[in-house]
C-alpha cells in the first residue's frame, strides 16, 4: 500500500509540495499517494499531512469553517505526522501573537508573523539543517520563531530558529517546496516511516 499523504488544498503552493513530495519519495523508493485535502472526511484516510505556504488567515478561516481545525489537532495528538511550511507553521504553532490566527499547538513553538517585514524583505540564503546539511532556503514574508519552546531547533538563520521538530511534527519558516531540493521532503517521509522522529516526544 502506498503511503497516503494529504496536503491541505484550499490555497497556497499546494501543487509544488505535491510535486516535490513525489520526487522525494521516488528517490527514497517509497511509494506515496498524494492527495489534496479540502474537507473533514478526506482527513480520515491520510497517514501524514502537509500544511503548505499561503495565507495563514485564509487557511485558518477555512479550516475552522469546514470543522477541520479541531480534527487535525486530534489526529496529530494521536500521532499523525504533520509538516507546516511558513503559513503552515503559523497554523501548527502554539502561539501566533496575532488574534487573527490561532495556533493549533501541535508544536510547542511561538511565532511572530511577517517578522522580517514585507515582500521586499523576502530573501534566499544558506542555512545548515541538522541531519541534512547546507541548504538554500527561500523565505517569503516569513514568520520568525521567537520561542522554540520544547521543540528541537533543526536549523537557525541569524540566531533565530527557522526549522523545528517535535515528535512527528515539523515546522519551517521557509519554503522547501519552491526549490528543486527534495531533502526536506525526504526527511519528512523518513519521519513518517519512523526513522527520523525528533527527540522531544509528545507535547
Amino acid at each position: 500500500m502506498p503511503l497516503n499523504i494529504g496536503i491541505i488544498g484550499f490555497q497556497g503552493d499546494v501543487s509544488e509540495h505535491a510535486e516535490l513530495l513525489k520526487k522525494a519519495a521516488n528517490k527514497l523508493e517509497v511509494e506515496v499517494s498524494v492527495h489534496e485535502v479540502r474537507n473533514r472526511t478526506q482527513l480520515d484516510s491520510v497517514e501524514a499531512l502537509i500544511i503548505p505556504g499561503g495565507e495563514s488567515t485564509t487557511m485558518f478561516k477555512l479550516l475552522k469553517l469546514y470543522s477541520m481545525y479541531d480534527k487535525i489537532i486530534e489526529l496529530a495528538k494521536n500521532g499523525l505526522p504533520v509538516m507546516g511550511t511558513c503559513a503552515g507553521l503559523i497554523l501548527i504553532s502554539s502561539k501566533t501573537n496575532d488574534e487573527r490566527v490561532e495556533g493549533m499547538g501541535l508544536i510547542d513553538t511561538e511565532i511572530e508573523r511577517n517578522a522580517y517585514g514585507r515582500q521586499i524583505d523576502s530573501f534566499m540564503d544558506d542555512i545548515d539543517i541538522k541531519g541534512i546539511g547546507k541548504y538554500k532556503a527561500v523565505f517569503i514574508r516569513a514568520p520568525v520563531i521567537s520561542k522554540p519552546g520544547k521543540a528541537d531547533v533543526l536549523a537557525e538563520y541569524k540566531n533565530k530558529p527557522v526549522m523545528v521538530g517535535q515528535g512527528k511534527v515539523l515546522g519551517l519558516t521557509f519554503h522547501p517546496e519552491l526549490t528543486k531540493d527534495t531533502r526536506v521532503h525526504e526527511y519528512f517521509i523518513k519521519m513518517i516511516e519512523g526513522e527520523g522522529s525528533t527527540s522531544s516526544g509528545d507535547l
Partner: protein, 336 residues
Amino acid sequence: MSTDISQLRFGEELIKRGFAKMTKGGVIMDVTTAEQAKIAEDAGAVAVMALERVPADIRAAGGVARMADPEKIKEILNSVSIPVMAKVRIGHVSEGYTLEALGVDMLDESEVLTPADPFFHVYKKQLKVPVVCGARTLPEAVRRIVEGAAMIRTKGEAGTGNVVEAVRHIRMVNEEIGIIKDLSQEELKKVSEKVAENYRVLRKTASEDLFGDENYLTGYNLFYGQNLEKMEAEVLKVLKEVRRLGRLPVVNFAAGGVATPADGALMMKLGMDGVFVGSGIFKSTDPKRMAKAVVEAVENYEDYKIIGNVSSGLSGMQGMEIEKMPKEQRLQERGW
C-alpha cells in the same frame, strides 16, 4: 540538486514568483479604505488591492486615473496582515518605484489606470517587488513575462460586473497554449518573431519619421537597451517553457468583471489559479456577505451545493453589457 537557484539572489525571479504562488487558489479583493481591507481579510481574501476608487467608479469618473494617494495606501498597509497590492499605470516606472518604497507587496501594472507610456510597459525585472500584469492573449502574457511579470491575470473588462471578457481571455490564452504545445522548433521560432514584433513600434515610428521608411532603422536598443535578437531570444525562452509546462510559467489569475460567487467558481473551473474581484464586492448590496461567499465559492468551485447556499439572497452589482460599449471605453484595449 538545487540547480538554478544558487545564482538567484534577493528580489529575483524565484522569490517574486514564489510570492505569487502563495496566493494560488485564493481571492484578491479591491479595497478603498482600511475598513474594507479588514472586511476582505476577515472574509478570507489572500491579499487586497489598495485603490482610491474601485474600477466601476474610475470608469464613471473618467479623466486620468493614476496611482493611488500614498496616504491611502499606507492606511491600508497598516490595517491588515495579508499582502497589500497597488496599481501602477502602464509604463509608469516612477510610480512603480514609489509604490515599492511604500512597502507594497506586489504591483499591478494595470489597464484600469490611464497608461503613462504609449510604447513600453514597465521593465519589471528592474523592480524588487513582484508585478502582476493583465493579458488578453498568449503573446501579451509572454511579453509581460519577458519583461519580468511574476504573475499574469486576464484583463477582462474591469468595472462592468460582466465576466464575458475574462472568459474570452481565458479561452484565448488556453487555446493558444494548446497550439504551442504541438509546435516544432521552427514554428515556435516563427511565433517568437511575431510576439517580439511589438517591441519594434517605437523604432519603426522614429524610422518612418526620419527616413519615410519604417524599416530603415532596425535592430538595436528596442527595449531598455536590448536589441531585437535579444527580445526574440527571451520570448522564445518563455514560449519553450509554456510548451514544456502546457501552461504559463507563472501564476495565472482571472480578473475583470467577476461579480458573483458563481462567477468566481467559473474562473476556477476554466483552470485559473485564483481570482481578482474588483468592483464586485464593494459595489454589491452586502459586501461582507459577498466577500465571504466569493471566497467559499472559489475554494469549492465544483461543490454546487455550497455555491447555491452562499449565493442565496445575494445580489451582485449592476452589470454592463460590453457589446454596447464604445471601443474607446474598453479598458482592455490599453497596453499590448
